[in-house]
């Protein structure tokens, strides 16, 4: 690894021009709605910066988040890990394994004490001392606490590390919790999604390297440049919502016409993410464009908010027993009340006659 070289020196060694770096910072500045002067400043800062040491921990997860980052286009995964950061530990991408991998993590932590960025994907098991997810004989909780101690900041990649995600879904058999439930004394950035948009991951890392600080975060710890708007507000199907034109099934005329998917359960109105603007696979498409409603995967507890296919206007608790029971109870109460009235009437007649 060439930690002593700056990013600028590293790029020129690889034959990448300053113009290319400027192009990238211009794209990044546009993406994050930074002022027009930012691209030049960012290019200068990036060129002078040393590659950021990153330790990537994977806990209770499906590797979908790592799969996502491998599909980053700007910067690509290769550009990210060879030019911008020094990815010192990542179980899936690491060439070595076993003790050698653990040694690499320990060395990176010692060499970059207080400076490395800790990326976490996956939630942390806490039930039964965390035995449900153990790496190298250590529970995820132990590893997280150890690695977080000397980290500059923590980036939670994916909804599992940010909010608990699917492992925390009811009945949460492993006692899964998000990183923020365990680590309280470090700056934490959440980049949720199942998986997150790759450019949101790489863009946030690039921002930290460039400015040496965290981007502005929303009330759920998400970088505002990527999570500032809800999907509904940026959705290209929004005009159909306004006109009241909705697909009522996935194969009806409305669906074929590309109408709004609200009625088939789209959670776009309550989901904050950049899917409708950045899209996926280099801006090719996103779920709604493919004809499926948003699942709301970048929001806490998205798995437990009722059916994905029930509209937001629907009652999540719907129970036939509750409706039937309430109607029956009401009828019984009414009948009993009328019966009492009849008894009182009979009583009054008797009293009058006697």
């Amino acid at each position: 690894m060439s930690e002593r070289l700056t990013i600028g020196e590293h790029l020129s060694q690889r034959g990448i021009s300053r113009r290319s770096l400027l192009k990238y910072t211009t794209w990044l500045a546009g993406l994050m709605a930074l002022p027009p002067t930012a691209p030049r400043a960012m290019a200068q800062a990036l060129a002078a910066a040393r590659r950021q040491s990153v330790i990537w921990l994977s806990f209770q997860e499906c590797t979908g988040c790592s799969e996502s980052i491998t599909r980053s286009f700007s910067p690509s995964l290769e550009e990210l890990i060879f030019d911008l950061i020094s990815l010192d530990y990542h179980e899936t991408l690491l060439a070595v394994s076993g003790q050698a991998a653990e040694d690499a993590r320990q060395k990176a932590m010692e060499d970059n004490k207080g400076k490395y960025v800790l990326v976490v994907d996956g939630s942390i098991s806490t039930r039964d001392d965390g035995v449900y997810s153990v790496i190298g004989g250590k529970s995820n909780r132990e590893t997280l606490i150890e690695c977080a101690r000397d980290a500059f900041a923590i980036i939670n990649v994916g909804t599992c590390s940010a909010y608990g995600g699917i492992p925390m879904a009811k009945p949460n058999p492993t006692g899964a919790v998000p990183v923020s439930d365990i680590i309280k004394d470090k700056p934490i950035i959440n980049i949720p999604g199942c998986p997150p948009i790759p450019e949101a991951i790489t863009g946030t890392i690039a921002y930290i390297i460039t400015f040496g600080k965290l981007p502005e975060l929303d009330d759920r710890g998400r970088p505002k440049p990527f999570f500032g708007d809800n999907i509904h507000d940026r959705c290209y199907r929004r005009p159909f919502y306004e006109r009241g034109q909705f697909a009522k099934a996935f194969d009806d005329e409305g669906a074929r016409n590309g109408w709004c998917l609200f009625e088939v359960g789209c959670k776009g109105p309550v989901t904050y993410n950049a899917c409708a603007t950045l899209k996926w696979n280099g801006g090719t498409s996103f779920p709604i464009q493919s004809g499926h409603g948003c699942l709301g995967c970048s929001e806490p507890g998205f798995w437990d908010k009722g059916s994905f296919y029930k509209p937001l206007a629907a009652w999540t608790d719907k129970r036939a027993a509750l409706i039937g029971g309430a109607v029956a109870a009401g009828v019984a109460a009414g009948a009993a009340s009328a019966l009492l009235a009849r008894k009182r009437k009979q009583q009054a007649i008797k009293e009058k006659q006697s």
Partner: protein, 219 residues
């Protein structure tokens, strides 16, 4: 649990349960009440009770002539917010969704712009009704807490609904939660206040029509 989760789940469940128990209780206790026998003979040409009932219901759609002039505002304004509410409640696609989800029946919705216009007219009309209630000495005198609470629980879903559709001031999820909660409040109050007239109006007007018809009263 977020505010929206609470509104869409437990709050709606409790409100619907209270609404259904309350409405059924009131309707059945009324319908099953013992009736006082009418021993007088019915007027010879009074017609069927069903016809009398329909006639009575229809005739009470507007005030009798002596009162028409003095109650023009109440008549027009009353129709304005009732029709407006009907358009908003039964014409908005998301509301139809809710009804379809609970009762399994649905119909085509209206464009959001039409709903917004109807909501604004309804809101203005409801405000007009309150102003009249507060400024008319007679109406003010006979108004009770029931009238004001009923007005409040009716106007709140209209205001929060308008805010939600137009994304005003708060985030959409907060607005939607407030709208559902205001609807839940209305459901809870419904059986116990004058909103119950939505059901009872059919019984009371028709019954009055039957009684008048039997006696040969021209209405």
């Amino acid at each position: 649990m977020t505010l929206l989760d609470f509104a869409r789940g437990p709050a709606l469940s409790v409100a619907l349960a209270v609404f259904l128990v309350g409405v059924m209780w009131r309707l059945f206790s009324l319908v099953l009440l013992p009736k006082a026998p009418d021993n007088s003979p019915a007027k010879a040409d009074s017609g069927s009770a069903i016809g009398q009932g329909f006639r009575g219901f229809w005739r009470h759609m507007w005030p009798a002539d002596p009162y028409l002039k003095s109650s023009v505002f109440a008549l027009v304004n009353g129709y304005a917010f009732h029709i407006g509410l009907a358009i908003v409640v039964f014409g908005f696609a998301q509301h139809i969704q809710f009804i379809r989800d609970v009762f399994g029946i649905s119909w085509p919705g209206l464009p959001t712009g039409v709903i917004t216009l109807a909501s604004v007219i309804t809101l203005a009309s409801l405000l007009g009704a309150l102003v009249r209630r507060l400024t008319s000495p007679v109406l003010k005198l006979i108004s009770t807490g029931n009238d004001y609470i009923t007005w409040l629980v009716t106007v709140l879903p209209v205001i929060t609904g308008l805010m939600t559709v137009n994304h005003l001031w708060f985030r959409y999820e907060t607005l939607l939660a407030l709208h559902i909660l205001s609807f839940a409040l209305m459901l809870i109050w419904f059986p116990f206040g004058k909103l119950m007239h939505a059901f009872l109006v059919f019984l009371t007007r028709s019954r009055t029509g039957v009684v008048y018809g039997r006696r040969g009263v021209k209405i």
